[in-house]
Symmetry: C2
Subunit: 244 residues, 2 copies
DNA sequence: CGTGGATTTGAGGACCTTCAAAAGCGGTGG
DNA sequence: CCACCGCTTTTGAAGGTCCTCAAATCCACG
């Protein structure tokens, strides 16, 4: 009762408490002290998004920036005739919607039920003005996003289907593990169709290659969305074509 | 004589005069006033790079940032087995080498004899500290680079060879023309091999598609590196698959 | 005018897609 | 609890786009 229609009473809004936020370690927040986080909290509002719902629609005015508290989000671009290219998969701690143009040039959709934190872009800008450290963090995040894009460009332009799928699994393994300790049990928040649209392939090709990796004992498909990596070295060498 | 070994005498160094720089309108410089430009000039050094020479090698420490005064540069990534993916073509006014990581994650090569302006990254950072406006410009440039990457990702992942080549020509046409007035005579600073490595194709495919566009009267190949667009609308529709 | 590299063109083949159908999986209701 | 339904995934067969290999042509340059 107290927090409905009480947008100005931030203290009474238990929904937004950055100090105890699960995404506290995210790029943006990790560089801030408690004082700054309070300012951040004052401008944020939490909400949930059901699986399959759009967070952002290509072309919409870019008024908000979102931080993912939990769940998975796919960022994509779709052509007039329906071809879809997924630009990236985001999860806990990642930001969605950071752009400098007036309108979003991509869509974003929840792959699972997700909890999010909404920031007004204007007030985020003010905050950046006030705390230059946030700017560094934003730049760092932008740079990380760019690195991911460069990897994707190389994969799409110059890797075979098998190399793309292997790279993709390696990537998941690193994201879900810790530094230098890749996870061997990876969870696929996305469908085969999402993977295909990310890797520039078809559902069938993705499925066939996963089957092939399975029969060569490189992976084990424990469930449709849970894969165990049995031979990481082998998977890595199948993924390569990477670094020079 | 006066300007050799006189690095502290900026006025006497005719090599670096941002006020009259051909790249004066570049993203970075266009937002600065004369005073700021003088500071910029104090930290910049001009030099030339022969065609085919590398400006940046993947893995090198990212100590410098370059602004292109004239000429064309290709940014690329190469895998262990020699596969190359060109990430972008840059020309007058563009910056090369902007990254936040300690080492470059890409190479850069001159496609033609080029004139460049070198900035020490450290002193550029100081400058940014001092003139927040420069930061905006840097962000803007980063965002533009990201937009280009997103377009490339879509092309590589979801466009046919013909669509990629058509998009590429349209892109050149816009870069070489003015706003809303695409150039109909485009100059190709890059070889077929470069185009292929940019579009994720082979030389032969690029050549075949250009020939096909020629015989369908969409373009005219005036020279191996000069193409005239005869039917822009047709080319545009061949390129599409674009916006939703 | 000859030479070497880039480009174009051709023929055949590989990889991935398309089309099609079977199998697996989760949820709902009888 | 199980049968049924819809959807996703897997698997198979055929086909197309693009690649590979090869040779001819073009072009710049000495």
């Amino acid at each position: 009762m107290t927090n409905r229609h009480a947008p100005f009473d931030q203290i009474a809004t238990p929904k937004v408490m950055c100090l105890s936020c699960p995404a506290r370690q995210s790029f943006l927040c990790s560089g801030l002290d408690d004082h700054q986080l309070q300012h951040l909290a004052a401008r944020a509002s939490r909400f949930e998004l059901m699986r399959g719902k759009n967070l952002i629609l290509e072309g919409d005015p870019s008024d908000n920036v979102y931080n993912i508290i939990s769940g998975d989000v796919a960022v994509s671009r779709v052509s007039a005739d329906g071809r879809r290219q997924i630009l990236g998969f985001l999860s806990k701690g990642d930001f969605v919607g950071l752009t400098l143009s007036e309108n979003y040039s991509f869509s974003a959709e929840a792959l699972s039920d997700a909890k999010l934190c909404r920031f007004d872009r204007r007030s985020l800008d003010e905050l950046v003005e006030r705390f230059p450290e946030m700017d560094r963090q934003l730049r760092r995040m932008g740079a990380a996003a760019m690195d991911a894009m460069l990897d994707l460009v190389f994969a799409l332009g110059r890797k075979t289907a098998q190399e793309r799928v292997a790279s993709f699994l390696i990537g998941l393994s690193h994201k879900q593990g810790n530094c230098d300790d890749p996870a061997l049990h990876v969870y696929l928040a996305m469908t085969r169709s999402d993977i295909a649209d990310y890797l520039g392939l078809t559902i069938e090709t993705v499925s066939r290659i996963l089957s092939r990796l399975k029969s060569s004992q490189v992976i084990r498909i424990k469930a449709v969305n849970r894969i165990e990596i049995l031979d990481l070295d082998q998977l890595q060498s199948l993924a390569d074509a990477d670094l020079s």
